[in-house]
Symmetry: none
DNA sequence: ATTGCAATGCAACATTTGTTGCATATCTTT
DNA sequence: AAAGATATGCAACAAATGTTGCATTGCAAT
């Protein structure tokens, strides 16, 4: 049977050891972390191929993590997969999958399904815990600098927009011509840098986060992996999935995450926060910004 | 891609053929039916052992069911397992949180669930049809003006960003100080205005769309209702859900919709589009924009 | 500069994998 | 009962799998 020296699961072991892994082993570890399902479903050599690594590296990684060999990892992973697929009637899933087959409809269905899943997964305990911690951090901050470049920009923008209903603490970076560092000149330990980036990580985002961290500004990360360069810098990290059959990684779960985050901040703000929102909406109505006044259906 | 000779799933095929199977083949078939998970997780020989059958019987069964060999069965089963495992952890987390009752966890779970549902619902036939039509419209356009204000801005920005991988046809509006109409001065019937707005509709978006329509520019709407003021103006409308227990309507399904849209446009662009993307990524890598060069895992 | 050690590459290994061609057994039909 | 078809068993196959011992590289401490 499996040695089971400790109760640590494969991803936990990888995360724990990740920082001390050299390049090749790290690349292999990263792949496993990002594609946990493939571990039992693909041959080791195939995984090595996809991870861009030699087959032996996988065996060596397994050894380093405390297993006898990669086969042990595959067995543990298979057991986990079995458990995960328990409630699932093989028929329905397989049929659905096959019918969705190919063509435009297939692509659309695949994206909707997988991305939708990424959103739903935000309800996982570990993620919820981090979201709650993030909300606490933001709620207590004097100012919240929101930084997202390229694909992360829409997410940062949406968060800053949502926060603007409450007060003027949120500041959106990344709009000007590289003036972000200027804007952060007055940032301190009472503020927060909310940085958003997923693979392939935008260099400027990482650098800015690093700069902030060095200056003692708490960094809150929204990223795609517990071992992303952003997570390494941040004091807290919310991890979301960016998996998608599309030609780029999806930012949809990340957007959902910031919407949740904003809601949590509001919830923590209590009656006062709700008042602020009402006031903002009133104001917008008077400015004739909106065609129809917002109608609350579910408070 | 997969050949997809027929749309029948493995269990269906087995059931259909079961009565006409001889003893040994039937025993093998029975085992697969009872242990669908093991198909991809155990080697064929191991399954044969457990089923009390010789290994060749498995191959022969596969052939009889219309597959080239047992390996085909294992691959199909692996794909199904992947999907099943994806849905699991999300659902489990949700259930657990629900049992714990309300509070912050309850709010998070609710949002994740409902918003995730909104994303998944993009796969509804009616929506898919509109998405496909929208993709066709955009693919054929000379320029695509992307307009989203306030909550719609991140969505418009993301779409413009994704399109920028392909070419420079997409133009993001709403950034300047009310200069949108200026930017659209040269818009004509060969162009498209992609307008994004949900209740409460931003007045300026509607007005701009109306202006464009009057000038003969086709308007593509991404909005929350078939009877929204934007849909009334547009020649085509993609309808997404904005329902959320949050204090504002969610833009997450809308973001997913534009990601799908961009993917469809790429798909329609064929090899040429993929080349353009590759070239863009190459360019980004050379500019050192990204920390890690994008690594395609599934070509 | 040199030693030492960790990291990676390489060739080869013994196994195991899924499959095949042919022989034998079993059943069906006449 | 004979003939023909079908089902099963067997030995062997090439291909792929996970692993190993040793050589080479690269880096850090001396």
């Amino acid at each position: 049977m499996t040695p089971m020296k400790s109760a640590l699961s494969l991803p936990d072991r990888i995360i724990a050891a990740f920082d001390s892994l050299p390049e090749q082993l790290g690349q292999a570890a990263r792949y496993i972390l990002d594609n946990p399902n493939d571990v039992a479903l693909l041959s080791m050599r195939e995984q090595a191929r996809r991870a861009g690594v030699k087959p032996w590296t996988m065996t060596r990684l397994a050894r380093r993590l405390g297993y006898a060999g990669y086969e042990d990892i595959r067995e543990e992973s298979a057991a986990a997969l079995r458990r995960a697929a328990l409630g699932f009637s093989g028929r329905a899933g397989a049929q659905a999958a096959r019918e969705e087959g190919g063509g435009e409809d297939g692509l659309m269905t695949d994206i909707a399904q997988i991305v939708g899943n990424g959103v739903t997964r935000l309800a996982e305990p570990a993620t919820m815990k981090e979201l709650a911690a993030a909300a606490a951090l933001i709620s207590g901050a004097r100012r919240v600098y929101c930084l997202g470049l390229r694909a992360g920009y829409p997410v940062a923008a949406q968060f800053a927009y949502l926060m603007s209903f409450l007060d003027d603490r949120a500041i959106l970076l990344g709009r000007g011509a590289g003036t972000d560092l200027d804007a952060m000149r007055h940032a301190g330990a009472e503020d927060v840098l909310f940085a958003i980036s997923a693979a392939p990580y935008t260099g400027a985002t990482i650098e800015t986060a690093r700069y902030a961290a060095r200056r003692g500004v708490p960094v809150l990360a929204l990223t795609d992996s517990p071992v992303s360069p952003l997570a390494a810098i941040a004091s807290r990290s919310v991890i979301v999935s960016t998996d998608s059959p599309s030609f780029v990684h999806t930012m949809t779960p990340a957007l959902a995450a910031v919407e949740i985050l904003a809601s949590l901040v509001v919830a923590r703000g209590g009656a006062k926060a709700l008042e602020a929102i009402a006031a903002t909406e009133e104001q917008l109505a008077q400015l004739n910004i909106h065609l129809y006044a917002p109608q609350r259906t579910q408070p």
